[in-house]
Symmetry: C2
Subunit: 523 residues, 2 copies
């Protein structure tokens, strides 16, 4: 890596930011410290909050905290976002200091608030200087803790990036004030606060001759990118726990000022391990219910049934059955594909427990492989030969009406098509640049693209596809093509219309199409 | 079996009913027919409804149908409940004709209505005469369809009592009017209406020279025994489907008169197989979520966590996570331990499908074996030696505040204790006579019983136990005993109180007790 290259960090949209040198960071630290002290000076209730890690959670969290106000509508916190001075990370700092959200967001509120807090209110700033941890009253840990596994092959095989996390905690320990609160928001293996964070911080503080007990709390976020990004932090339920009564009280006090606790009262758990486990259990619950429906999807396709109507009929039973999931294309995002592994890893590595979360781990495997089913429906429509077939995949992100492409199941589908010498082409009204698969051809006009392709796969239920004019789509086709609907995009009437136009139509969980399209064909 | 014995049918409460002879049944038929015709005479909208099978569903359904009224508050239906003239079944007929519910019920409404309809309104009657099927406009099938398996050992191993069900349908076919609607309410393998019921009825009707197509619909009940037994039919959501448009319309029309569709609109599925599958899927969803929490229960016990508090914190997230289940003792009742097997059986036996419902079947196995965990907690408290230990199990039924003991997990616990030469003693404020385990000693006063026992297991969260005076319980003990709480009956404070009194206290999903009781002990 050349010296010059390593001094530049490029954002996904192409904006370049110069990474500061050590000397420049020292100067930056002095400036920020002065701004922070100016801000808190003569205002007893004001505090300095550091957010460590400026990804999907940290960057939004920094904005929410900087936006918090006291009863006189005065801002409460001077917020400093911290990330690393590396080409991979520094652009997030650059963007925030430009008043921009580093995460592409459909949430105007988040975008406007971030700009205003940085540029006008001036109590939100970002830096790569580690020394700012030394001026924080509350240090929020939002660094990533990734899992390398995609599927479960055995308890001993789970690999997590705990070293990076430990290093981040060490950095905090090196600089933190003796009475600061370390609030871990990162989704961690249950037991992390007590068995990893506390020993690391206590050891370094001892080396620094700090004898006061360290204050640590855990409170997990439920951030949901999309139109309500900001509100998914501010106006949403929060669970928290402290490693001791003082930590618990400090966390409660802080969270009460940033969360709308009037409508979303805080939930206190009496053990940080419980709070850590709650996060991974709630995502495991979700993941398992998705996996459960997958096996019933296969059954309903073979039995000629419309599973979407069946799950809809069951959800009517409110209070006990309204969380049953629909069939679908696959599972993506940051949390659901990994969180369960953290629990299983913690069981064996932090507690020497022999418990195996069999159903949960099986669910992880099913969910990871789920896009293969859509691929099979596609392949079968071409007599198992996709060679040179052009397949337009509608939807790149992992979720309806958002741009987030992390672990999107569409990536697996494109890979499978490429493996079979087919040609995947993608479309997504929300995604300008597909960072995980930059080389896949991306089209912006579905009606032009339809002229050139052999098949269309609806992979994400974006409103754009739900409102798509199928009649117009048919009129633009040069010849009948294959349509695979993995997300209940196509109504029965439209399926019949496509069928009448000669198209081959298949749908995930839509076994009834076999019958109604055959009936229609026989008419 | 002596001739005299075979002519008597004894109810669980000991009441004896003489089973009528064939001649007597013929006379009975004539009488009932005349009453029915008198009832419908000159009232165009009145119909005769036959309910086949007078168990938990059929007996309550008969009352709900007989209670249905038109806009002028006039009764709509003459209802005839039918069951078999056998010692095993006839007492149900006897009880209904006495104005009594054959199923012990905490629902005063159901009891009062049944009595009033039989004795005063006189449009509800029961009989063993098969010939009454010949006068029914609607014939509701509520016969049992049992599964012999308790655990899943392979697709080919599933055995269901389909022969008894087929015979019941044949009997209907032999007598039914040509334009009657057969409404199947029994939980059946998906595909049953089209692949079993229709062929049987069509064949017999052809033999009877009836050429009109037979009308068949499926609509599954969601009956819940307990205080709202009647309303769990009348005021609850209903899904239905017909084998053709006419059947669908007849079912809709009939159900609209007996269900409170203003508050609980009917849900129409376009395929009887879909309606049949919906029922077993909704119970599989429930069963799987119970099994999922079981593996996290084991984890939380090893990690020293209170899982009840964790699930409570997750349920706060309404709309997406409020159906997550609590830990517990085990799964019972008629539906949850068997319904999933019906889907798996149908897949291979009615559709030659190779789908295996892996997660669902694994859940069945976990749930069946769940009481073994409570047994292990108990056994460990006695150094794995239960010989001559007297164990008081609080709760026999499978559900809170009901008397229903079908497939109650308490049965497995008593068996396990007996196998280990312990002495199980049971208590349940709702159960007078435990039909499945008549030889187990049953006590009625828990405070007397506590003097004689070595351990208490709380197995069912009856309000009685939740309100139990633990301080008084301690005062009645002759010596400290073991308390196993499988249902979150004992608060932390009470656990500490029991611990201070020298009792050994353990709880399912209550890993935190290990810590707080040790702390208390060290004080």
């Amino acid at each position: 890596m050349s010296d010059i290259y390593s001094k530049i960090s490029k954002s996904p949209t192409g904006q370049e930011y110069k990474i500061p040198s050590k000397d420049e960071l020292e100067q930056e630290y002095d400036t920020i410290k002065n701004s922070a002290y100016d801000f808190v000076k003569n205002k007893k209730n004001r505090k300095v909050v550091i957010v460590q890690g400026l990804g999907f959670v940290g960057s939004a969290m920094a904005t929410v905290v900087a936006d918090a106000k006291d009863e006189n509508k005065e801002p409460l916190y001077f917020v400093i976002g911290v990330d690393l001075p590396t080409p991979y990370a520094y652009w997030k700092i650059g963007m925030i200091n430009d008043g921009l959200c580093p995460v592409v967001s459909e949430d105007e509120k988040l975008r406007n608030k971030t700009y205003n807090l940085v540029k006008n209110q001036k109590n939100l700033i970002a830096t790569a200087s580690e020394r700012v941890y030394g001026i924080g009253d509350v240090i929020i840990v939002d660094v990533q803790l990734d899992v390398k596994n995609k599927i479960f092959t055995g308890v001993k095989d789970i690999e997590i990036s705990i070293e990076g996390f430990k290093k981040a905690i060490e950095t905090i320990g090196k600089y933190m004030k003796e009475d600061a609160l370390v609030l871990v928001e990162t989704t961690v293996p249950p037991g992390t606060c007590k068995k990893i964070v506390k020993p690391i911080l206590s050891k370094i503080r001892k080396e620094r001759d700090i004898n006061k007990p360290v204050r640590i709390a855990h409170s997990y976020e439920r951030v949901m990118p999309g139109k309500n990004y900001f509100d998914s932090i501010k106006n949403f339920w929060r669970t928290y726990a402290g490693i001791d009564n003082e930590s618990e009280e400090m966390a409660r006090e802080f969270l009460s000022t940033i969360i709308n606790t009037k409508n979303f009262p805080l939930f206190c758990l009496k053990d940080t391990t419980a709070s850590e486990l709650a996060k991974v259990l709630e995502n495991s619950y979700r993941a398992t219910n998705i996996a459960l429906i997958y096996e019933w999807t296969l059954l309903c396709e073979q039995l000629g049934l419309n599973l979407f109507e069946i799950t809809k009929s069951i959800r009517v039973r409110k209070g006990t059955h309204d969380n049953i999931k629909d069939p679908g294309f696959g599972v993506g995002g940051y949390c659901l594909p990994k969180d369960s592994f953290l629990a299983q890893w913690a069981a064996s590595n932090l507690f020497s427990s022999d418990v195996v979360l069999n159903i949960t781990m099986e669910a992880m495997n099913i969910n990871h492989n789920m896009p293969k089913h859509t691929f099979e429906l596609l392949k079968n429509s071409f007599n198992n030969d996709l060679e040179r077939k052009k397949i337009l995949i509608c939807g790149i992100s992992y979720l309806q009406d958002v741009a987030d492409t992390r672990n999107s199941p569409t990536a697996m589908l494109t890979d499978l098509i490429l493996d079979d010498n087919g040609i995947p082409i993608v479309h997504d009204p929300f995604v300008d640049y597909w960072i995980e698969r930059p080389n896949i051809t991306k089209v912006s006009d579905i009606f032009s693209a339809i002229k050139e392709v052999d098949a269309v796969v609806f992979a994400v239920p974006h409103s754009f596809y739900l409102n798509l004019d199928i009649t117009k789509l048919i009129s633009k086709m040069k010849h009948p093509i294959t349509i695979i609907d993995a997300q209940n995009i196509i109504s029965d009437d439209k399926a019949i219309e496509l069928n009448k136009a000669g198209c081959h139509v298949k749908g995930v969980g839509k076994g009834h199409w076999n019958t109604i399209l055959k009936q229609n064909h026989n008419k």
